[in-house]
Structure formats: C-alpha cells, structure tokens
C-alpha cells in the first residue's frame, strides 16, 4: 500500500485526463460565449451605459436679458454669482454626508431635508439647487471637500441686480424659483423644477424673452465625481435685452413725488400708450427675491397692512371720486343733455327723497364750470337725467370696469355698476338713488389708477383709447407680440366716437382746474398747459387698499395732462388717505414739471420755471369732492 504512490507501474487511465481536458475546454468555451454576448452582441448597449457613467451634464445657465429705459439707460443689470448644486447620481449615502454639507454651507439639516424632499421625484440626473449666491467661504469649502463630498457642484450664474430701495419694483417685478403651481400651468410646460422665472411685473410678462436658453457642458468624471476632462459644450443663449418705454427721469420724479406716501403714480403717453413712469408705494426690494427670500422677510411683506407687494397701479380698485366727473361730462355731452343743463347749487340737492350734499354753494353752474369747480349738485342732477345704464355704457366705452390690457400680470378690472351688474352680483334690483352717488364717482364704481389714466387721457385725445404697455412692441418678435395680446386681454386700442365740440368743452374745463378758481389752482404751472381733474373719494363704504389706520380719511386722486388737447403725457396720482384731491395734484404737478422741463431742455428751450403761483386761499380750501 505504501508503495502505490511512488510506483512507476500504476498509471491513471488516459481517458480520465482527456476528460479533464474536455472539461477545461468546455469551461473556456462557456466563458468565451459569455464574452461574445457582452462584447460583440451587447457592445453598443454597454457603450452607451459607459458613456452615461462618465459624462456628467452640468448646466450652463443663460444670463437674463437686461432692462433699459427708453433712452438706453440701464435699469436692471446682472452680476456674477456662484450657486451650489447637489448631484444625486453619485451612488453615495447622502444622508451620512448631510451634516457636513449643512455645516459647510451654513444651512440647517431641516432645510436640507426639505429641499431633498421637494426634489425627490425629480429625475436622478438633475442637479438639485442647494444654495444660491454662496459666499467665497462656502465656495472654498466645496473646493476643499471635492473628495469627501463629490456630490457637491458649483455653477456660475448671472444673478439679477435690481435698483435699490424698491425703485420701480412693481414695474420690474422679480424672479424666483418656478413654483409647483406654475409647473402645472400649460403656459410653463417647458420649465423644469429649479428654473428661475419672472414672478411679477415685466420679469413675469416678458420672461420668455428675457430668460434665454440654458446650455450644458459635458464633463468627464470618475465614479467619485472628480473631473477628468471636458467634452462638448452647448452654449447658453443669453436672454434678450429689453428697452422699456419707461423714462428714468420721469420715473425718478414720480418716485420722489410720491415719496413715503401710500399710493401710486402712473404716467403714460396717451398718444400711443407708452408707460413713462410706474410707481406703487410702499415698495419692496426685489433684490431680496433674487436669492431665495428669507421666511421672516416674506412674512413681513405679506402681512404688512400697506401691502407692499400690491401693484397699486393696476391692482388698487377704488372709488374714483370726482375724477369720474370727466366721464360723466363726456356721457352728458354725448347724450346732448349736459350742453344745456344749468343747475343751481345750494350746497346739495334732494333726489328720490334723500339729500345729497355738495361741499359748497356754487350757485348757477353749467358744464363749463362744473368741472373746474367739481360741483357735486350738477353731477347728481346729470346722473339722474342720464340713468345708470347710460352712464355705464359711456364709462365702459372708456374702459371703466375692464382691464386695460397692459402688459403686466394680475391686472384688476375695477367695477362699473349697472342694473345688469347689480342683478348678477347681488341678485337685487338697482335703486335709482344709487345712480346719484355714481354720478360723483362714489358708490359701487371702482377703478385702477391706470384705468383712469387711460380713460381721461383718451377723452382728452378725442376718444383715442390706447393699450398701455411698458415695452416697445417693435423690440419683440411678431409671434410674441401676438402672444402678449392674448395673455393680457383688455379694452386695448379703440376709438370712441366723440363730437369735437364736446371734446373742446371738456378739455377747456379741465385746463381750468389748475387755474385760479379751479380745484387744483395751487398746482398751477406757469407757461404749461396743465389740465386735469381732482378727486376726493370717500373710503368709508368702499375701503382703501386696507390701510387700517387710515380710517375714513378720503383718498386723494388727480389725473393731470399736458397739453389739454391731445396730451403727450397723462399722470394719475393716487394718494391713499391723502384727504384732498388737490394734494395729489401737487404730486402730479411735480411729475408734469419734470416732463416739461426735460423736453424744453432737449429743445434748448428751458426757461427757469417760475415757482408755482401762490394759490388763492379760496381755491385751496374750496376743495373738490
């Protein structure tokens, strides 16, 4: 037995070793077949997978178009900034890295978790924006932790730089991350979560033009996300710059005129609808929206009783007060009633068993005096004679109770009451007594400052009504121009038939408003054909924009224009709780003066303006109602 192992006589049967050889060959053939399957049959498929493995798409963000005023002066600029993104295709245990990320980026864990949750259904290859506009310290942190935190990526981008102190903030609007609701809106079908979009003002209306198109850069990376090299780049198409119709000089004058008061000023060229100034106060700082706005700041903005986010030029819907008398006059003259109407004002009158007061005893008043004196009794009488539906017909033709169609988001339509309106809204019949209040711009009638500018500017232009707009249409592609009209429906550009004689009566009377004896005599501008109409609107029944402390102090309106016929500029001033329309007339006069001086200077024609003539005492106190 012990000899078997060394015995040279015993051999293994050759067939057994041959069998082993066959087994070896078989195994190798199986392996080769496996390789054939992968490398020959499946190579295309795996090549694609290998490409995806090593190429990372990094977005190249398009810079947003800048905004310039009508003379090419810069209003909204961009500045370079760095944002931090999180990549989720790294096959890493993110949860374990979060504390380190939170520390380095000065964020708290809850914040990170909520961001991750927000994006949990987004495709895995899409980088998640973690923090925008990061500090150099935070950039340094990311650079220093490339190995530990390969999932962090920085992206250079251009960020919005808005004017300081809320200058023109409501006009410009602001940008922010696209919201869930917006993504569900078909208009935003091409937007992806995380995209920055315009959320108010021009930024929103012209987002398509301003945003440009993001590009992308393909970076070769290893499995740790380290950059090994670069492949192609799809350059971003920068957004288009826009030249606005705004005139910075007029805008500045309007901002300064309104100052700390609550309200709005809008200036427009009634010949073509170009907006020259757009102010709503109190304002807000759009720069704080450009980077994600803090919760505290946001709460403050939305709970402020003065509604800083409200774009009062198109969103304040208030009783127009006596400014409405211009529309009443157009209606009365158009119907052939006002021409021959003479009313003896004895401080008011009784209509349908109720006494309606006028603030003065104007004596015998006709249409020529009713406007500059703003005699309520005259318009009570006129309203009674016209009836509500005739008033409504005229008012609607001038755009009251309808959106103007201005190229700004969330315009309000205001209210022009009528019998049908009352029935529809309150399921109640119209009482004749209500017509009397409407005659002086009270009651249910509510307008926006822009509506008023368009209506009165249109009447002064002989019925030529315009569509207000903030961007020169010739700057825009044709299809976008049409899309703009479709997105912002409104009364737009129309011609309301108007007898030239009536036109002259009304415009001459409006020019008298700033003359001695007129309700805005204190705002008289020497050598300027400054026409307008004051309005002092009670706020008790139809509230202000919510100024709690304002109580029942009336809102002060003024719609002014230069010159009286076919004006070049119309300015509406709304001073909430400004008490007297004449007070607003001062503010309008400042804007008008800035406009006139600017144009005279341009024509080398500027005469140092004389100080506004001291107003006669009677006119100053002889207020408008």
């Amino acid at each position: 037995m012990a000899n078997n192992q060394y015995s040279r006589d015993i051999k293994l049967p050759a067939i057994k070793l041959a069998a082993v050889q066959y087994v070896v060959a078989l195994i190798l053939i199986i392996l080769i077949a496996g390789l054939w399957r992968l490398q020959v049959l499946g190579s295309e498929n795996y090549r694609v997978l290998a490409e995806q493995n090593r190429i990372r798409k990094v977005p190249v963000l398009a810079s947003r178009g800048k905004l310039f005023d009508r003379e090419g002066r810069l209003i909204v600029d961009n500045y370079p900034s760095v944002s931090c993104f999180l990549l989720r295709d790294q096959n890493r245990d993110l949860e374990a890295d979060l504390p380190l990320i939170a520390g380095g980026l000065h964020m708290d864990l809850d914040q990170l978790h909520s961001i991750l949750k927000h994006y949990q259904h987004a495709p895995g290859y899409q980088p998640i924006p973690l923090k925008q506009d990061i500090t150099p310290d935070e950039v340094a942190f990311i650079e220093a932790h490339r190995n530990e935190l390969p999932e962090l990526e920085t992206i250079d981008e251009q960020r919005r730089l808005y004017p300081k102190d809320g200058f023109a903030a409501h006009l410009i609007g602001y940008v922010g991350e696209v919201s869930e609701e917006m993504l569900n809106d078909p208009r935003y079908e091409f937007y992806a979560p995380g995209d920055v979009v315009g959320k108010a003002g021009i930024e929103q209306s012209y987002d398509q033009i301003l945003r440009g198109e993001d590009g992308s850069r393909d970076i070769i990376v290893d499995s740790h996300g380290r950059e090994l090299g670069r492949l192609g780049i799809v350059h971003a198409t920068p957004g288009k710059d826009l030249r606005l119709t705004i005139d910075l000089d007029i805008q500045r004058a309007a901002e300064k005129a309104l100052g700390p008061r609550n309200g709005a000023i809008v200036a427009m060229d009634p010949r073509n609808g170009e907006i020259l100034a757009w102010v709503s106060h109190p304002s807000f700082d759009p720069n704080s929206f450009a980077v994600k706005i803090g919760r505290e700041e946001w709460t403050h903005l939305i709970t402020d009783p003065n509604h800083p986010l409200m774009n009062k030029v198109i969103q304040a819907q208030l009783a127009p007060g006596s400014t409405f008398k211009i529309i009443m006059s157009a209606a009365g003259l158009g119907e052939g009633v006002a021409q021959n109407l003479k009313v003896n004002c004895t401080g008011g009158g009784t209509f349908y068993g109720h006494f309606f007061a006028c603030d003065q005893h104007h004596g015998m008043v006709d249409i020529h005096h009713a406007i500059p004196l703003s005699c309520d009794t005259y318009y009570y009488t006129l309203a009674q004679k016209l009836g509500i539906d005739t008033i409504a017909k005229y008012a609607q033709s001038f755009g009251i109770g309808q959106k103007t169609g201005v190229d700004m988001p969330n315009e309000m339509s205001g209210i022009m009451p009528s019998e049908a309106w009352k029935l529809k809204t309150f399921h109640d019949k119209w009482y004749a007594g209500e017509t009397i209040s409407v005659g002086i711009g009270q009651g249910a009638v509510a307008v926006t400052p822009l509506q008023l500018a368009r209506a009165l500017g249109g009447i002064a232009s002989g019925g030529h009504m315009v569509r207000p707009h903030t961007v020169f249409p010739e700057e825009l592609p044709t299809d976008f121009r049409q899309a703009l009209l479709d997105s912002f429906p409104g009364s737009g550009e129309t011609q309301v038939p108007m007898d030239p004689a009536n036109w002259e009566i009304i415009t001459d009377a409006m020019a008298m408003v700033t003359q001695p004896g007129g309700t805005a005599a204190a705002s008289h501008l020497a050598d300027v054909d400054f026409a307008g109409k004051t309005g002092t609107a009670q706020t008790a029944s139809h509230g202000a924009t919510g100024h709690a402390a304002g109580g029942s102090i009336p809102n002060a309106w003024f719609v002014g224009m230069v010159p009286r016929r076919n004006p070049e500029i119309v300015v509406t001033v709304l001073w909430e709780n400004g008490n007297w329309g004449a007070n607003s007339a001062h503010l309008a006069a400042e804007v008008i003066e800035a406009y006139v001086n600017k144009h005279r200077k341009a024509e080398h024609n500027l005469v140092e303006p004389a100080a506004p003539a001291p107003a006669p005492q009677t006119a100053a106190s002889g207020g408008a109602h």
Binding site: Q5, K11, V24, A25, I30, L31, D222, S223
Partner: protein
Amino acid sequence: MRRFLSFRDFDWPLLGLVLLMSALSVMEIYSATLHTKFVGFHTKQLIWLAVGMGLMFLMSKVNYHRLIDIAYYTYGFFLVSLTLVLIPHIGKKVLGARRWIGVGAIHFQPSEWMKLVLIIAVARYFANLGAKDLRWSDIFKAFALVGLPMLLVLKEPDLGTTLTYTPVLLCGLFLGGIRWKQATVLILCAVLALSGIWISGKVLKPYQKQRLTSFMNPDADPKGSGYQIRQSLIAVGSGGIWGKGIAKGTQTQGDFLPIPYTDFIFAAFSEEHGFLGALFLLLLYFLILMRLIQNAQTAADLSGTFLIMGVVAVMVFQIAVNVGMVIGLMPVTGIPLPLMSYGGSSVLFTFLSLGMVMNVRMERFVN
C-alpha cells in the same frame, strides 16, 4: 536516465507562456492603477514575480516525494494554524474577518498556504489508494481531509478561499477512482446539503448569501455587489471587439470598476483590449492548462500526476469563477485570477505550484 536533475528538462515552453501572461498582468495593473492611489503597483507586482520565479526554481529542486512524505505533518500544522486564527488575540481581524495570524511584523494567512498543502495531502491520499475503485470509506476519509480545513476557513469567514478547496477534492475523487453510482449519490447528497445550508441560514452569513445571488439580478442591489457586477459588465461590454486601448478604458480609468487591478482585472483587460484581447488571454490559459495536464500524464508516478492535477483543478476553478464573475455568470466571491491579479499570495501560490510541477516533470528523467 540521469542521476541528477537537469534544467534541460525544465518545461521552458510552459515557463514562456507563464511569463507572457505575467507581462500582460503587469501591463494591465499599470493601466488600471494609473489614476488611483495605487499607482506604481505594477512595479510591486514585478518584484512579486521576481520572488515567485526564485521560489519556483527553488521549489523545482525540491523532490516532490519529500513533500508527499511530510504531507500529513504539514497538513496537521496548518490545521492547527487555522484553528489558532479563529482564537481572538491570536488571529488578527481585518475588515471583519479573522484571517491572519502573526507574531510581531511577520503575518501570514494560513488559509492561502492550506491550498498548496491540501493539494499535496490529497495527492498523497489518492495516490496511495492506487487509483483503483474507491470504497465508501475512502470517500468519507477524503471528505474529512478536505472538509476539516474548509469548515475552519469558512468560520473566519472566507467564503472565496473555502470554495477553492473543493476542486482539489473533486479532482481527487474523479481521478482517484470514484464510481458512477457513488458520484450520483454524492451529487444528490450535495444538492440536498447545499439547499439545507441555504435554507437554514446558519452556515452562510446574510451578506455572503446576498453576494451569491446578486449576480443574477444586479439591479436589486445597486450599491453593493450588484453595483460591482453592473460596472464590470459595462466595462467588458463597452470594450467591444477591439477594446479601447491601454489606459483608455473609461470604466477602468474612471474608477467605476471596483478593484480593477485584482479581482476585476479581467474586466479591465477586456475593456481596454476588447473581445480579441480577452480571447487571447483565455487561449493562453488553455495552452498553459493543456501543458500542465500533459505533464501530469507523463509524470513518473501517481503522486506526481495527482499533484499536477490538483494545481490544474485549483487554476481552472479560479479562472472559471473569476472570469465568470466578471462577465456576470458567477457571483462575486473575491477569488483572484491566477497569473493576472495583483497580489503577493496569489503570485507566490501560483509560482510555488509551478515549481512543484516542474519538479514532477524533471524527476521523471531521474532514477
């Protein structure tokens, strides 16, 4: 017949094939570590190869009969070592497994050496039986001989090495004279026992089980071994017919492929050299294995034949399991590819075995 060994009888063609393979190994290790912190490992591999060559020549001078003579003593010694490894404070725990034993700076892994020792012990056992029909008692003794170290290594735990012991036993049984009836019964028992082990969950740890199954569905475990298999398949598949070129494999260079210089070196090679390169490599293995079997056939006696066939069995098993793993036909077991993978113990085992084979060849001309 001469009285002394002569290097003229050395298997030079076999050595040539082995050296060609080693050159490919060094080249691929160079490429696979180029962009990693392991850069320069190819020079270390060269050193290991040099040491291996030296040991191979030394080993070829050692009469294999002396190894057979002391086989049961060395077997006993390493069995004790494997037991010691399992005792805390003596066995060193690395990455959750107790595989190393050491005093001071000298460490060794008894399970690696056991491979060689087991080949010799099994060769002696079956050669001694004279290649006649086996009795059941012979079979049980063979099972005990191999099963004992297997249990100990499995306890470390080291599933990969445990599995490499089985081909030694299977090859021994087959060549040693197992009968068809016995083989059938054994296969049935094995199937029953393996399913029992799988279901009981006592012998295999959950991660080992998961590793053993994830190759069938890599996407079920995309971050663990499933990830490794996925990346490996992408590497091999994207290599195509011609390959991407040395140091141009994106999977290998981009660090997507796990450990591309050891266990997954075949994937790295296939990515960079394509189907043709892989085919060439497998052809080299085929030639080496055929040459080894030829040497086994011409061995002077049964023990020589069994020795060489033991080496063949281990090599075939490692190639099948490693390449099978890389191309998704086998689970991830952490078994290196002989003559290709980087690593001292793998190189030393291979070259020591080859030295032994050389001696068997040379001894047949000695009286």
